[in-house]
């Protein structure tokens, strides 16, 4: 049940490895050194460190093991995808407490990255809503953990990038929703300062907020963009509209490298900005275009061509102020990587996962095509993030240097201590953990 092949992250960085699949995660993970789900992480966290390392793919393990319609608590095998959960439970009035910007992720991946969504300022990360995990440890034992039972393993696994154990089952609380529709407000923001004020103000009124920035504009319009805010619509607001699922299209082939360049990216950004010609709009939208605008085109990652791409995502603490955000954007513009996509979000307090990404401040995520300059670009951005007291998001990262990571991650020694306890022989590892955590290659 294995084949030598190349495994890819979402940024299409590929590594040779052996991926194994089975409906039975228990037997599947017995000899594996890493688990992976839908491979929506961008960099090398779901890739093997060595070609002969076995990576357990959880996708066929997608059974729901229990759902309590009284409390909303759902327990399922780790390979169950958010797309399936939404398809089944949206029409019944339930939605996951947290969703990232794609529904093509598994529960295992959501826990391992401790994902956040548009409601981070209110609801925190996914880990805050997890009740229990069933984990296969590196030495083969299987344990159940929760905030009360083996809390170090539990919190270490939340945002632990699969390095403490293979997640077999996840138990978490879904949230009730009044209707399967979103009431959304979008506003045009003319500069980064206006944007940050807008986000802070919207956070008080809306449970979900995020923004899209034109990160190729300069000067006084640096950081202009569109702020989106939303909440689940009340039944009255929907006017009784029935729920329908969106159709998906797929980018059937890879575009050549040259299609996405500085000029096309700039044109795209300007077009998007000005297509929002009214200053502010309110309307009823379906959850899919609101939460997952990019999922409308499957395999959109092929748009970057064979060179592939990466996403740089960092969070800058509130204490560093708007000046740090402006400086970040200025540096980004100067470094000149064309990006059609730059997403900004204000985060609430740090979560309880030992290595959970968000902290109170501003998160910025930009896509970048891979070029010979990429290492230099990531290094320059990381230097700024370190100086501001921020950090990067591991699930997006493929290029950060270990010394930079250590400098921005004072929690790392604590995590490594927990890893030593639960994986004493250091069996579990990924290409990323070898690059950043000092795991044996």
């Amino acid at each position: 049940m294995s084949a030598t092949m190349t495994l890819e992250g979402w940024g299409r960085l590929a590594m040779p490895g052996r991926e194994v699949v089975s409906c039975d995660l228990e037997s599947l993970t017995a000899k594996a050194v890493l688990s992976r789900g839908l491979g929506r992480s961008y960099g090398d966290c779901s890739l093997p460190a060595r070609p002969d390392d076995r990576v357990a793919n959880s996708l066929m393990a997608d059974r729901i093991l229990g759902f309590d319609p009284g409390s909303g608590v759902l327990r399922a095998e780790a390979g169950l995808s958010l797309a399936q959960i939404n398809r089944l439970f949206l029409p019944r009035g339930w939605f996951p407490p947290i969703t990232p910007g794609t529904k093509f992720v598994t529960l295992g991946g959501m826990v391992a990255s401790d994902v956040h969504g548009k409601n981070h300022h209110r609801q925190g990360c996914f880990g805050e809503h997890v009740r229990a995990l069933r984990i296969r440890l590196g030495d083969g034992d299987i344990v159940e953990c929760s905030p009360n039972v083996h809390p170090d393993l539990f919190y270490g696994s939340i945002g632990g990038m699969g390095l403490l154990g293979h997640i077999l089952e996840v138990e978490f609380a879904m949230g009730p929703i009044p209707s399967p529709w979103i009431w959304m407000e979008s506003s045009r923001m003319s500069s980064i300062e206006a944007f940050l004020d807008g986000l802070a103000e919207a956070a008080l009124r809306w449970p979900m907020t995020m923004g899209w920035i034109d990160c190729l504009s300069r000067g006084s319009s640096l950081g202009r963009g569109i702020l989106m805010a939303g909440r689940w619509a009340s039944v009255e607001q929907t006017g009784g509209a029935a729920f329908k699922t969106a159709a998906e299209r797929s980018l059937p082939f890879e575009l050549p490298n040259f299609v996405l360049n500085r000029w096309t990216a700039r044109a795209f950004n300007a077009l998007y900005y000005w297509s929002h010609w009214r200053k502010r709009r309110e309307r009823l939208v379906a959850p899919d275009p609101f939460f997952y605008p990019l999922d409308a085109i499957l395999h959109w990652n092929r748009a970057y061509g064979p060179r592939g791409f990466t996403q740089y995502q960092c969070v800058l603490p509130r204490a560093a102020g708007p000046a740090a955000v402006r400086e970040f954007l200025q540096r980004l513009v100067k470094l000149g990587s064309p990006s059609p996509l730059c997403v900004i979000k204000d985060c609430g307090p740090e979560g309880s996962g030992t290595l959970s990404f968000p902290l109170e401040g501003t998160s910025i995520a930009v896509d970048m095509a891979i070029s010979p300059d990429i290492q230099g670009i990531v290094d320059r951005l990381n230097e700024l993030v370190i100086a501001a007291g921020g950090r990067i998001y591991l699930t997006k990262d493929g290029f950060t240097r270990p010394d930079h990571f250590r400098a921005m991650e004072p929690r790392l020694p604590g995590f490594l201590q927990t890893k030593k306890k639960w994986d004493p022989s250091g069996r579990l590892r990924s290409a990323q953990s070898v690059r950043l955590f000092g795991d044996c290659p």
Binding site: M1, V21, P69, L74, L88
Partner: protein, 246 residues
């Protein structure tokens, strides 16, 4: 629909069971491993719009003496089933089968002799209550003797012939028999094989099979492109089949 599914714990059987549960049909699961049945039953309960119970009983294709008891349990739980679906089967590569006679015996016995026995039990019960549906998974591998699937294909060829005859013989008595011939579908069974360009997915197969069952069709190739592929293969002259590796 009140359906018994042998093999509903994984792959295409799992997807069929899920779709039936989601539209409100009543189900009973059969399979060799109790823990696995338990987990699949829980999954179906969570998916059913009315959250009805899904019961199960052990049934191993290598133990035909247990078939009758298993179907009794299904009858009792469902209050008389009207549909029986069999997706369970064994698979092994031709090399593995050539290297291991015991494996060959098990596979041929399970996929042909015992599947026929199971269907005989099922169709007698269905006919006794005036008819019903019998949906059984064979394979495109049974359509022509081919080098890479000589033994597995033969077990499925025998099964296909039996299912066709069953349809001819009992159609007028109210028994609707559906023989499903999947092409390459990405499931655990084929996880170790290199997928061809038009490999199918279990959810697509499930949709197609349920539609075919609802319409009372006798034969379905899934994904549909395999109907054309096999038409060509069946027409290829012997001397060509000898030379090619397909």
């Amino acid at each position: 629909m009140k359906a018994v599914i042998l093999g509903g714990t994984s792959g295409m059987g799992r997807e069929i069971a899920r779709r039936l549960a989601e539209r409100g049909d009543l189900l009973f699961l059969l399979g060799p491993r109790k823990k696995n049945l338990e987990r699949s039953a829980a999954d179906l309960v969570a998916r059913h719009p009315d959250k009805v119970d899904v019961a199960f009983a052990p049934c191993d294709l290598l133990r035909p003496e247990g078939f009758s008891e298993a179907l009794d349990a299904a009858d009792a739980a469902l209050g008389g089933f009207d549909t029986v679906i069999v997706t369970a089967a064994l698979f092994a590569t031709q090399e593995a089968l050539e290297a291991d006679v015991d494996l060959t015996q098990r596979l041929v016995t399970a996929n042909f002799a015992n599947t026929v026995l199971f269907c005989e039990h099922a169709r007698k019960r269905l006919l006794a209550r005036g008819g019903g549906r019998l949906c059984v998974f064979s394979s495109v591998a049974g359509d022509r003797g081919r080098k890479p699937v000589a033994i597995y294909g033969a077990s499925k060829a025998g099964l296909s012939a039996y299912l066709e005859a069953l349809d001819h013989k009992f159609h007028a008595h109210g028994l609707s028999v559906l023989c499903v011939k999947p092409g390459f579908v990405r499931t655990e069974m084929t996880a170790a094989l290199q997928p061809p360009p038009f490999a199918g997915t279990p959810d697509r197969v499930a949709t197609q099979v349920i539609r075919a069952m609802d319409r009372g069709k006798p034969l379905v190739y899934s994904p549909p492109v395999w109907a054309w592929v096999m038409r060509v293969i069946r027409w290829l002259p012997r001397f060509v089949m000898r030379r090619i590796g397909f």
